[in-house]
């Protein structure tokens, strides 16, 4: 029988006065057994991270504290043990890995010394033994050249390597519990798949109980034994993974799961033969510049785009899919002339726009517009929403009254209250801001819309609302769209055709359905097989609805 490791009963965490709610979490009960993975799922602000911190005794004291309940770890109540005892437990019995391995590691200490201190503060080992053990650990987590990694500093490793080093550190003393706080959120899908596999493998070896915090139901489907769903600090549903995922009871769980886009592509529109945008053999290289007066060696060069060729047909949505560094955002910025291309041609209506001078380009701004990724960075905090939207037409020489009228119309089209016109961006939520950004891009009545990861900064339930909105608008305004994304689920639901990019090259392009059914390029195959929860096909899973949603996010 598997031994019970952790038993949290009736836990309340109190927030300081003046916070938006009194308790970060209320009445939380959970259990964790040896060798088991419990996933805590919730959107931002659900209290899932604070629950994890409480288990480590790492709440930001004294403002945030456990006000009621107990956390029993092997018959000891962690909320009551002495500081010394807590310190003993941390890192040796219970350890933790974090979302952002770059900031979670000390930037000025080598990986080796950061692993070494765990041994120094918990067990009595000679320096040579500690070194040997650290190298073994790095080897265990499949890091190449462990000796070299020992001497490396965090900034010299890739994101995936850093997270591996973090895991090595966390598992150094074979803890009974591993708490993983969104450990793969900052990583690319293929790296994510590797890290998830690593955690699973290590769990088998050490029989560790894993408490895994995530917002991604795909990840849940891949690794969880049991699931616990939290909303506003309250556990709304918990149970075995199959039961919760396939047969959710609570409306919130249902909503969350149905918001996860399905991996089976939706039906593509019949594609018109008319090309609205042609990208031919476009290249772009970064770096290579020299210092002042041309002295010094040229800096390191990165080929961001290598000979990229693709066409956009009238009325379609073309997905550009790839991981970070694939060049997909650079491509978007070259098309909309935020960056200059080195060579190649980008053509609209027979005019090669990538060679136009700034002034001449201004007239073409009406044709092509962009929706940005980060709703918090894409709106000027000092300018009122109405002016943000009206700015475009005014810049293009339309008179102010006309522009303001159009802005008001657009505010209602994107599903916002008319009062929004005179408010500042900070008064809106992420989803609402993204609606404002969409309204701004539509104000010039463009024919082509480039959407650069428009939903990746949003919670999953809001994601689907924004995707619905984009889909509606595309129909209504007869737009052709280039949709940049790293998320294959989103791509499956949005794109008629898609282009897969890797290291600045388009490795595969075709109908979305064909690519999902029969990927040709090895990288596409890798990418598809790395999608979390790919084997989980819930009946509840989301297909884009055709009903017009005007719900406010």
């Amino acid at each position: 029988m598997k031994q019970k490791l952790l038993d949290i009963a009736d836990l309340y965490i109190e927030l300081p006065k003046g916070a938006d709610r009194q308790y970060a979490i209320q009445k939380v009960n959970l259990e964790l057994k040896q060798g088991e993975t419990l996933c805590v799922v919730g959107e931002s602000g659900s209290g899932k991270s604070l629950t994890a911190r409480a288990i480590m005794g790492l709440l930001p004291q004294p403002h945030v504290r456990v006000s009621n309940g107990e956390i029993i770890f092997n018959s000891e109540d962690i909320t009551k043990v002495s500081y010394e005892r807590l310190r003993e437990l941390r890192g040796s019995e219970i350890s933790m890995i974090f979302q952002e391995p770059m900031t979670a590691l000390n930037p000025v200490m080598s990986i080796g010394s950061q692993i070494d201190e765990i041994f120094r503060y918990h067990v009595d080992m000679s320096k040579a033994d500690r070194q040997k053990r650290a190298v073994e650990l790095l080897d265990d987590v499949n890091l190449p050249n462990p000796e070299q990694i020992m001497r490396a500093y965090p900034h010299e490793l890739s994101g995936g390597q850093r997270q591996r080093a973090m895991i090595a550190m966390a598992l150094a003393l074979k803890p009974q519990i591993l708490i993983a706080d969104e450990p793969t959120t900052a990583l690319d899908v293929t790296t994510q798949a590797q890290i998830l596999k690593l955690i699973k493998d290590m769990q088998k070896v050490y029989n560790t109980g894993v408490l895994f915090i995530t917002h991604d139901f795909g990840v849940v489907a891949d690794i969880a034994d049991r699931v616990m769903v939290m909303q506003h600090g309250i556990v709304v549903e918990s149970g075995p993974v199959k039961q919760v995922l396939n047969n959710p009871k609570h409306p919130y769980t249902k909503a969350l799961i149905s918001a996860v886009p399905s991996l089976s592509p939706r039906k593509a529109k019949t594609i018109s033969k008319e090309k609205v945008l042609e990208v031919q053999n476009v290249c772009k290289t970064f770096g290579g510049g020299r210092g002042l007066f041309g002295f010094g060696r040229p800096s390191r060069q990165v080929e961001a785009l290598k000979d990229v060729t693709l066409d956009l047909y009238n009325g379609e949505t073309l997905g550009v899919v790839g991981e970070s560094g694939s060049g997909k955002s650079t491509l978007a910025r070259c098309i909309i002339r935020l960056m200059d291309t080195d060579s190649g041609a980008i053509t609209i209506e027979g005019t090669q726009i990538n060679m136009l001078k700034r002034k001449a380009m201004r007239a073409w701004r009406n044709k092509i517009q962009m929706v940005f990724q980060d709703p918090f960075a894409s709106l000027n905090p000092r300018i009122k929403v109405g002016d943000i939207i009206a700015q475009g037409p005014i810049t293009q020489g339309i008179n102010r009254e006309e522009a303001i009228k159009r802005a008001r119309e657009l505010i209602s089209i994107v599903g916002l209250d008319d009062k929004s016109f005179d408010r500042y961006p900070h008064e809106f939520s992420g989803g609402q801001r993204q609606r404002i950004g969409i309204a701004r891009s539509l104000a010039l009545k463009p024919e082509i819309l480039i959407a650069d990861e428009p939903v990746s900064a949003l919670d999953v339930s809001i994601q689907s609302q924004i995707l619905d909105l984009l889909d509606d608008i595309r129909e209504q305004m007869k737009l052709s769209m280039i949709f940049i994304t790293h998320d294959l689920r989103v791509a499956a639901q949005v794109c008629d055709r898609m282009a897969v990019m890797q290291y600045g090259e388009v490795v595969e392009i075709g109908k979305t359905k064909d690519i999902f059914a029969k990927p040709q390029h090895p990288y596409t195959i890798d990418l598809l097989s790395a999608v979390p929860g790919k084997d989980w096909k819930s009946s509840a899973s989301k297909k884009l609805t055709k009903t017009k949603t005007k719900s406010k996010s």
């Binding site: 510049g289 210092g291 002042l292 910025r333 909309i336 002339r337 935020l338 380009m361 201004r362 701004r365 092509i368 517009q369 962009m370 940005f372 990724q373 980060d374 960075a377 894409s378 709106l379 000027n380 905090p381 000092r382 300018i383 700015q391 475009g392 810049t395 293009q396 950004g437 701004r440 891009s441 010039l444």
Partner: protein
């Protein structure tokens, strides 16, 4: 605005600083009423100690009234501090904005120039400038401005550098907005807070530099200032401590108050930083 005041009000020492500055300004504004005579004039018996011979704060070796000097000196300090800072902030914004926005070679050249001015020991440079231009209120303002703008330039450059890649600025490019409009209307308003904070602290530094220059005898010879008073009194330190002491206290209080206000502004304009501590 009200929001801002509420946040500012929470910092009690900042409110205290504001009150003190207000009093100093009041003192400077009414100088000609309080002591309606030339502060350089012989007003009574030399080296009278405070409270004697009708001197509130005593008199110096030439019989000049120390209190009158302090009241008239307040005008000099505030005026020079303010004007020099405004000039320096203007130059700094110009350099910083162009360097940060355009980057590349323009940035390279402008920042090299800034670096040269930052390397030169500023006080010695100020001394040199005043000595060569001949001491006057103008040369003092020029000297202080010339040595204080590089800090602003670096700050503004940094802000522009990070803001120009923000998506809202990129969105303006996609709308076809002109560079000048983007710089002035989109980016600059977003870096006003740190500029206001550094500007307020620069006024304090400018007052200190001015007092140092006039202490060394490089002030405008026709205008009373605190530094000059202290410089004139230093030889009689043994016999007449008050001549040096009181103007120094005036500088201390004024500069302290400005610094407190600067910190208050910082807290009120960057609420997030405050919460972190």
């Amino acid at each position: 605005m009200r929001d801002f005041w509420n946040r500012y009000k929470r910092n009690r020492s900042a409110v205290f600083g504001l009150v003190v500055i207000f009093l100093v300004i009041l003192m400077a504004a009414t100088a000609d009423l309080l002591y309606a005579f030339d502060p350089f004039r012989l007003a009574g018996k030399p080296l009278s100690s405070p409270g004697t011979n009708g001197f509130l704060l005593g008199s110096d070796s030439l019989g000049r009234d120390v209190a009158a000097g302090i009241v008239h000196g307040a005008k000099t300090s505030l005026l020079i501090g303010l004007v020099a800072t405004l000039v320096a902030v203007f130059i700094g914004i110009l350099f910083g904005a162009l360097a940060g926005y355009y980057g590349g070679q323009i940035d390279n050249i402008l920042m090299r120039v800034t670096e040269v001015f930052q390397t030169i020991p500023s006080f010695i440079f100020a001394i040199l400038l005043v000595a060569i231009l001949k001491p006057s209120i103008y040369s003092v303002v020029i000297a202080i401005s010339v040595v204080s703008w590089p800090g602003v330039a670096r700050l503004v450059r940094g802000e522009f550098l990070s803001l120009k890649n923000r998506e809202f600025v990129q969105a303006c490019h996609t709308l076809g907005m002109s560079d000048l409009r983007i710089m002035l209307r989109e980016i600059l308003p977003n870096c006003l807070s740190p500029i206001i904070v550094i500007g307020s602290l620069m006024i304090a530094t400018a007052i200190l530099i001015e007092s140092g220059l006039s202490f060394l005898g490089l002030g405008d010879p026709n205008i009373m200032s605190w530094g000059f008073q202290i410089g004139a009194g230093r030889t009689m330190l043994r016999s007449a401590w008050w001549v040096c002491t009181f103007p120094g206290v005036a500088i201390l209080i004024t500069v302290l108050a400005i610094n407190l206000v600067g910190e208050g502004l910082n807290d009120a304009l960057n609420p997030r930083l405050r919460e972190r501590n």
